[in-house]
Protein backbone atom coordinates (compact mmCIF):
# COMPACT_ATOMS: atom_id res chain seq x y z
CA UNK A 1 0.00 0.00 0.00
CA UNK A 2 1.33 3.44 -0.89
CA UNK A 3 1.92 5.65 2.17
CA UNK A 4 1.22 8.95 0.45
CA UNK A 5 -2.50 9.70 0.02
CA UNK A 6 -1.77 12.10 -2.87
CA UNK A 7 -0.42 9.23 -4.99
CA UNK A 8 -2.51 6.38 -3.61
CA UNK A 9 -5.59 5.13 -5.42
CA UNK A 10 -8.75 4.91 -3.24
CA UNK A 11 -8.98 1.22 -4.24
CA UNK A 12 -5.97 0.57 -1.97
CA UNK A 13 -8.13 1.34 1.08
CA UNK A 14 -10.55 -1.48 0.20
CA UNK A 15 -8.49 -4.23 -1.39
CA UNK A 16 -11.00 -6.89 -0.27
CA UNK A 17 -13.59 -5.39 -2.63
CA UNK A 18 -13.91 -5.66 -6.41
CA UNK A 19 -11.99 -2.64 -7.88
CA UNK A 20 -14.80 -1.79 -10.32
CA UNK A 21 -17.31 -1.74 -7.43
CA UNK A 22 -15.00 0.57 -5.42
CA UNK A 23 -14.58 2.93 -8.40
CA UNK A 24 -18.35 3.24 -8.89
CA UNK A 25 -18.85 3.76 -5.13
CA UNK A 26 -16.19 6.49 -4.88
CA UNK A 27 -17.45 8.31 -8.00
CA UNK A 28 -21.03 8.33 -6.65
CA UNK A 29 -19.89 9.63 -3.24
CA UNK A 30 -17.87 12.35 -5.00
CA UNK A 31 -20.91 13.34 -7.07
CA UNK A 32 -22.94 13.51 -3.84
CA UNK A 33 -20.35 15.93 -2.41
CA UNK A 34 -18.98 13.65 0.30
CA UNK A 35 -15.47 14.86 1.38
CA UNK A 36 -12.40 12.67 0.77
CA UNK A 37 -11.73 11.85 4.44
CA UNK A 38 -15.32 10.54 4.87
CA UNK A 39 -14.98 8.47 1.68
CA UNK A 40 -11.78 6.98 3.13
CA UNK A 41 -13.62 6.02 6.34
CA UNK A 42 -16.43 4.35 4.37
CA UNK A 43 -13.85 2.37 2.35
CA UNK A 44 -11.97 1.14 5.43
CA UNK A 45 -15.23 0.15 7.21
CA UNK A 46 -16.30 -1.74 4.08
CA UNK A 47 -12.93 -3.46 3.74
CA UNK A 48 -12.92 -4.55 7.41
CA UNK A 49 -16.47 -5.89 7.10
CA UNK A 50 -15.62 -7.92 3.97
CA UNK A 51 -12.46 -9.40 5.54
CA UNK A 52 -14.27 -10.44 8.71
CA UNK A 53 -17.43 -11.76 7.06
CA UNK A 54 -15.76 -13.35 4.03
CA UNK A 55 -18.63 -12.03 1.88
CA UNK A 56 -18.33 -10.62 -1.64
CA UNK A 57 -18.84 -6.87 -1.85
CA UNK A 58 -22.00 -6.95 -3.98
CA UNK A 59 -23.48 -9.65 -1.74
CA UNK A 60 -22.90 -7.62 1.45
CA UNK A 61 -23.41 -4.09 0.15
CA UNK A 62 -25.46 -4.46 -3.04
CA UNK A 63 -25.27 -1.91 -5.84
CA UNK A 64 -22.40 0.59 -5.24
CA UNK A 65 -24.42 3.65 -6.31
CA UNK A 66 -27.42 2.77 -4.16
CA UNK A 67 -25.17 2.05 -1.19
CA UNK A 68 -23.40 5.41 -1.65
CA UNK A 69 -26.76 7.21 -1.77
CA UNK A 70 -27.92 5.41 1.39
CA UNK A 71 -24.83 6.70 3.23
CA UNK A 72 -25.38 10.31 2.14
CA UNK A 73 -29.14 10.59 1.45
CA UNK A 74 -29.16 14.40 1.50
CA UNK A 75 -25.76 14.82 -0.15
CA UNK A 76 -22.50 15.51 1.68
CA UNK A 77 -21.21 18.86 2.96
CA UNK A 78 -19.35 19.53 -0.30
CA UNK A 79 -22.53 19.08 -2.41
CA UNK A 80 -22.93 22.87 -2.63
CA UNK A 81 -20.03 24.20 -4.70
CA UNK A 82 -18.32 27.13 -2.98
CA UNK A 83 -17.90 30.55 -4.58
CA UNK A 84 -14.16 30.06 -4.95
CA UNK A 85 -14.68 27.01 -7.24
CA UNK A 86 -17.18 28.89 -9.41
CA UNK A 87 -14.83 31.93 -9.60
CA UNK A 88 -11.92 29.66 -10.54
CA UNK A 89 -13.94 28.01 -13.33
CA UNK A 90 -15.11 31.36 -14.72
CA UNK A 91 -11.59 32.86 -14.63
CA UNK A 92 -10.14 29.76 -16.30
CA UNK A 93 -12.76 29.91 -19.06
CA UNK A 94 -12.26 33.66 -19.64
CA UNK A 95 -8.47 33.37 -19.64
CA UNK A 96 -8.22 30.36 -21.94
CA UNK A 97 -10.63 32.00 -24.46
CA UNK A 98 -9.19 35.56 -24.35
CA UNK A 99 -5.44 34.83 -24.46
CA UNK A 100 -5.35 33.03 -27.87
CA UNK A 101 -7.92 35.45 -29.37
CA UNK A 102 -5.82 38.44 -28.27
CA UNK A 103 -2.53 36.84 -29.32
CA UNK A 104 -3.79 36.43 -32.89
CA UNK A 105 -4.87 40.09 -33.02
CA UNK A 106 -1.55 41.29 -31.52
CA UNK A 107 0.41 39.32 -34.16
CA UNK A 108 -1.82 40.73 -36.94
CA UNK A 109 -1.65 44.27 -35.53
CA UNK A 110 -5.45 44.50 -35.36
CA UNK A 111 -8.12 44.83 -32.67
CA UNK A 112 -9.99 41.87 -31.17
CA UNK A 113 -13.35 41.61 -32.90
CA UNK A 114 -16.25 40.51 -30.72
CA UNK A 115 -19.03 39.03 -32.87
CA UNK A 116 -22.57 37.98 -31.99
CA UNK A 117 -21.71 34.35 -32.77
CA UNK A 118 -18.60 34.56 -30.57
CA UNK A 119 -20.62 35.87 -27.62
CA UNK A 120 -23.29 33.14 -28.04
CA UNK A 121 -20.57 30.45 -28.32
CA UNK A 122 -19.03 31.79 -25.08
CA UNK A 123 -22.46 31.62 -23.39
CA UNK A 124 -22.79 28.01 -24.60
CA UNK A 125 -19.35 27.16 -23.19
CA UNK A 126 -20.25 28.93 -19.93
CA UNK A 127 -23.43 26.82 -19.68
CA UNK A 128 -21.39 23.64 -20.07
CA UNK A 129 -18.95 24.76 -17.36
CA UNK A 130 -21.89 25.70 -15.09
CA UNK A 131 -23.23 22.15 -15.52
CA UNK A 132 -19.89 20.85 -14.26
CA UNK A 133 -19.46 23.08 -11.21
CA UNK A 134 -22.95 24.05 -10.00
CA UNK A 135 -24.39 22.25 -6.92
CA UNK A 136 -24.96 18.60 -7.71
CA UNK A 137 -22.82 18.96 -10.89
CA UNK A 138 -25.75 17.88 -13.12
CA UNK A 139 -23.76 17.69 -16.35
CA UNK A 140 -20.84 15.88 -14.69
CA UNK A 141 -23.25 13.36 -13.13
CA UNK A 142 -24.87 12.76 -16.53
CA UNK A 143 -21.47 12.25 -18.21
CA UNK A 144 -20.33 9.78 -15.54
CA UNK A 145 -23.58 7.77 -15.44
CA UNK A 146 -24.15 7.76 -19.21
CA UNK A 147 -20.72 7.48 -20.80
CA UNK A 148 -22.19 7.55 -24.32
CA UNK A 149 -23.50 11.08 -23.73
CA UNK A 150 -19.92 12.38 -23.46
CA UNK A 151 -19.11 10.83 -26.86
CA UNK A 152 -21.95 12.81 -28.43
CA UNK A 153 -21.85 15.96 -26.32
CA UNK A 154 -18.26 17.09 -26.96
CA UNK A 155 -18.48 17.04 -30.80
CA UNK A 156 -22.01 18.49 -30.63
CA UNK A 157 -20.81 21.44 -28.51
CA UNK A 158 -17.82 22.07 -30.80
CA UNK A 159 -20.05 21.90 -33.91
CA UNK A 160 -22.68 24.19 -32.38
CA UNK A 161 -20.05 26.70 -31.17
CA UNK A 162 -18.31 26.76 -34.57
CA UNK A 163 -21.70 27.09 -36.30
CA UNK A 164 -22.63 30.10 -34.17
CA UNK A 165 -19.28 31.81 -34.88
CA UNK A 166 -19.55 31.20 -38.64
CA UNK A 167 -23.25 31.95 -39.09
CA UNK A 168 -23.49 35.05 -36.87
CA UNK A 169 -20.47 37.21 -37.85
CA UNK A 170 -22.11 40.55 -36.93
CA UNK A 171 -19.48 42.67 -35.14
CA UNK A 172 -20.60 43.96 -31.75
CA UNK A 173 -17.41 45.73 -30.64
CA UNK A 174 -13.68 45.96 -31.43
CA UNK A 175 -11.34 45.99 -28.42
CA UNK A 176 -7.59 46.87 -28.40
CA UNK A 177 -5.67 43.56 -28.47
CA UNK A 178 -3.14 44.38 -25.69
CA UNK A 179 -6.06 45.16 -23.37
CA UNK A 180 -7.69 41.79 -24.08
CA UNK A 181 -4.33 39.98 -23.76
CA UNK A 182 -3.72 41.65 -20.39
CA UNK A 183 -7.24 40.78 -19.17
CA UNK A 184 -6.84 37.16 -20.33
CA UNK A 185 -3.42 36.79 -18.68
CA UNK A 186 -4.77 38.32 -15.44
CA UNK A 187 -7.69 35.87 -15.48
CA UNK A 188 -5.31 32.91 -16.02
CA UNK A 189 -3.10 34.12 -13.16
CA UNK A 190 -6.00 34.71 -10.74
CA UNK A 191 -7.59 31.34 -11.64
CA UNK A 192 -4.24 29.60 -11.08
CA UNK A 193 -3.86 31.14 -7.62
CA UNK A 194 -7.40 30.07 -6.66
CA UNK A 195 -6.79 26.57 -8.03
CA UNK A 196 -3.49 26.21 -6.13
CA UNK A 197 -5.06 27.45 -2.88
CA UNK A 198 -8.06 25.11 -3.12
CA UNK A 199 -7.95 22.30 -0.53
CA UNK A 200 -6.89 19.00 -2.11
CA UNK A 201 -9.75 16.94 -0.53
CA UNK A 202 -7.94 13.63 -1.04
CA UNK A 203 -9.38 10.26 -0.07
CA UNK A 204 -7.52 9.54 3.17
CA UNK A 205 -7.58 6.68 5.66
CA UNK A 206 -8.86 7.50 9.20
CA UNK A 207 -6.26 9.43 11.17
CA UNK A 208 -4.21 10.16 8.05
CA UNK A 209 -3.41 13.74 7.07
CA UNK A 210 -3.29 14.75 3.41
CA UNK A 211 -0.44 16.96 2.22
CA UNK A 212 -1.03 18.76 -1.06
CA UNK A 213 2.43 20.10 -1.97
CA UNK A 214 2.63 18.50 -5.43
CA UNK A 215 -1.02 19.32 -6.07
CA UNK A 216 -0.42 23.03 -5.41
CA UNK A 217 2.40 23.21 -7.97
CA UNK A 218 0.21 21.40 -10.51
CA UNK A 219 -2.64 23.80 -9.69
CA UNK A 220 -0.39 26.79 -10.45
CA UNK A 221 0.75 25.35 -13.78
CA UNK A 222 -2.38 23.80 -15.24
CA UNK A 223 -4.17 26.96 -16.46
CA UNK A 224 -1.09 28.61 -18.04
CA UNK A 225 -0.40 25.31 -19.85
CA UNK A 226 -4.01 25.21 -21.11
CA UNK A 227 -3.72 28.82 -22.31
CA UNK A 228 -0.43 28.03 -24.10
CA UNK A 229 -1.93 24.93 -25.75
CA UNK A 230 -4.90 27.07 -26.91
CA UNK A 231 -2.36 29.50 -28.48
CA UNK A 232 -0.68 26.77 -30.57
CA UNK A 233 -3.27 26.76 -33.42
CA UNK A 234 -3.10 30.60 -33.54
CA UNK A 235 0.69 30.47 -33.96
CA UNK A 236 0.57 27.55 -36.43
CA UNK A 237 -1.92 29.37 -38.70
CA UNK A 238 0.40 32.41 -38.86
CA UNK A 239 3.58 30.38 -39.29
CA UNK A 240 2.18 28.10 -41.99
CA UNK A 241 -0.06 30.71 -43.62
Amino acid sequence: MSENPSTRHPRELATAADPAWVDAFVVELRLLGVPGDEIGEHLVVLDTHLRESGEAVDEAFGDPREYARSLAPGGGPAAAVDRSTVAMAVLALVGVVLVPAALGAVLDGTRVTVTLGGVLAAVLLGGAVAGLVLPGAPLLALLVRRRWVSLLLAPALVALGAGLVLLLPQVLVRVPAPLVLGAGAAAVLAGSVLLARAPADLVTAPGERASGGGGRLLGLLVLPVFALVACVPVLLVRLLG
Binding site: L46, E52, E55, L71
Partner: protein, 118 residues
Protein backbone atom coordinates in the same frame (compact mmCIF):
# COMPACT_ATOMS: atom_id res chain seq x y z
CA UNK B 1 -32.56 -19.31 18.75
CA UNK B 2 -34.72 -19.17 15.66
CA UNK B 3 -33.11 -18.62 12.27
CA UNK B 4 -36.43 -17.72 10.69
CA UNK B 5 -36.35 -14.91 8.12
CA UNK B 6 -38.55 -12.08 9.37
CA UNK B 7 -40.49 -9.86 6.96
CA UNK B 8 -38.42 -6.86 5.84
CA UNK B 9 -41.08 -4.37 7.04
CA UNK B 10 -40.93 -5.76 10.59
CA UNK B 11 -37.13 -5.66 10.63
CA UNK B 12 -37.11 -2.11 9.27
CA UNK B 13 -39.32 -0.99 12.14
CA UNK B 14 -37.26 -2.55 14.91
CA UNK B 15 -33.70 -2.65 13.57
CA UNK B 16 -32.63 0.74 14.95
CA UNK B 17 -33.69 -0.19 18.48
CA UNK B 18 -32.21 -3.67 18.08
CA UNK B 19 -28.81 -2.15 17.19
CA UNK B 20 -29.01 0.13 20.22
CA UNK B 21 -29.89 -2.97 22.25
CA UNK B 22 -26.84 -4.96 21.21
CA UNK B 23 -24.57 -1.93 21.72
CA UNK B 24 -26.01 -1.53 25.23
CA UNK B 25 -24.27 -4.78 26.18
CA UNK B 26 -20.84 -3.65 24.97
CA UNK B 27 -19.32 -1.45 22.26
CA UNK B 28 -18.73 -3.32 19.01
CA UNK B 29 -17.48 -2.85 15.46
CA UNK B 30 -19.93 -3.18 12.57
CA UNK B 31 -19.55 -6.87 11.75
CA UNK B 32 -19.80 -7.80 15.47
CA UNK B 33 -23.11 -5.87 15.63
CA UNK B 34 -24.39 -7.94 12.68
CA UNK B 35 -23.23 -11.17 14.38
CA UNK B 36 -24.97 -10.31 17.66
CA UNK B 37 -28.21 -9.49 15.82
CA UNK B 38 -28.02 -12.85 14.03
CA UNK B 39 -27.25 -14.72 17.29
CA UNK B 40 -30.35 -13.17 18.87
CA UNK B 41 -32.58 -14.36 16.07
CA UNK B 42 -33.02 -11.32 13.85
CA UNK B 43 -31.34 -13.09 10.92
CA UNK B 44 -28.60 -11.81 8.61
CA UNK B 45 -28.39 -8.03 8.46
CA UNK B 46 -26.31 -7.04 5.44
CA UNK B 47 -23.56 -4.41 5.59
CA UNK B 48 -25.52 -2.38 3.05
CA UNK B 49 -28.34 -2.04 5.60
CA UNK B 50 -26.29 -1.88 8.79
CA UNK B 51 -23.78 0.92 8.12
CA UNK B 52 -26.25 3.52 6.79
CA UNK B 53 -28.36 2.76 9.90
CA UNK B 54 -25.33 3.18 12.20
CA UNK B 55 -24.67 6.51 10.41
CA UNK B 56 -28.23 7.67 11.12
CA UNK B 57 -27.93 6.61 14.77
CA UNK B 58 -24.69 8.62 14.99
CA UNK B 59 -26.37 11.66 13.40
CA UNK B 60 -29.16 11.37 16.00
CA UNK B 61 -26.54 11.41 18.78
CA UNK B 62 -27.48 7.94 20.08
CA UNK B 63 -24.30 6.19 18.96
CA UNK B 64 -20.72 7.39 18.63
CA UNK B 65 -17.97 5.82 16.54
CA UNK B 66 -14.29 5.74 17.42
CA UNK B 67 -11.36 4.35 15.43
CA UNK B 68 -9.52 1.60 17.26
CA UNK B 69 -5.85 1.58 16.21
CA UNK B 70 -4.79 -1.44 14.16
CA UNK B 71 -1.37 -3.12 14.17
CA UNK B 72 -0.69 -2.11 10.55
CA UNK B 73 -3.27 0.28 9.19
CA UNK B 74 -6.19 2.41 10.22
CA UNK B 75 -7.83 -0.26 12.42
CA UNK B 76 -11.55 -0.70 13.01
CA UNK B 77 -14.39 1.64 13.85
CA UNK B 78 -15.97 0.75 17.17
CA UNK B 79 -19.50 1.93 17.91
CA UNK B 80 -20.77 2.62 21.43
CA UNK B 81 -24.02 3.88 22.95
CA UNK B 82 -24.12 7.49 24.20
CA UNK B 83 -26.04 8.47 27.38
CA UNK B 84 -28.77 9.93 25.09
CA UNK B 85 -28.87 6.63 23.18
CA UNK B 86 -29.24 4.69 26.42
CA UNK B 87 -32.20 6.90 27.48
CA UNK B 88 -33.79 6.54 24.03
CA UNK B 89 -33.39 2.76 24.18
CA UNK B 90 -35.00 2.58 27.65
CA UNK B 91 -38.00 4.72 26.63
CA UNK B 92 -38.58 3.23 23.19
CA UNK B 93 -37.79 -0.33 24.34
CA UNK B 94 -40.57 -0.06 26.91
CA UNK B 95 -43.00 1.31 24.33
CA UNK B 96 -42.05 -1.44 21.87
CA UNK B 97 -42.74 -4.09 24.52
CA UNK B 98 -46.15 -2.50 25.21
CA UNK B 99 -46.83 -2.46 21.46
CA UNK B 100 -45.97 -6.17 21.22
CA UNK B 101 -48.36 -6.99 24.10
CA UNK B 102 -51.10 -4.94 22.42
CA UNK B 103 -50.44 -6.59 19.07
CA UNK B 104 -50.61 -9.99 20.75
CA UNK B 105 -54.06 -9.17 22.12
CA UNK B 106 -55.27 -7.92 18.75
CA UNK B 107 -53.98 -10.99 16.93
CA UNK B 108 -55.40 -13.46 19.49
CA UNK B 109 -58.76 -11.95 20.52
CA UNK B 110 -60.06 -15.27 21.92
CA UNK B 111 -57.15 -15.57 24.35
CA UNK B 112 -57.68 -11.95 25.35
CA UNK B 113 -61.39 -12.40 25.99
CA UNK B 114 -60.64 -15.43 28.18
CA UNK B 115 -58.38 -13.27 30.29
CA UNK B 116 -60.75 -10.29 30.42
CA UNK B 117 -63.56 -10.68 33.07
CA UNK B 118 -67.06 -9.91 31.66
Amino acid sequence: MTTEEWPTEWLRAVLGLAVLGVLDDAPAHGYAVAQRLAERGLGDVRGGTLYPLLGRLQDAGWVEGEWEPGSAGPGRKVFRLTPAGRRHLAEQGERWAAFCRTTGVVLSPSAASERTPR
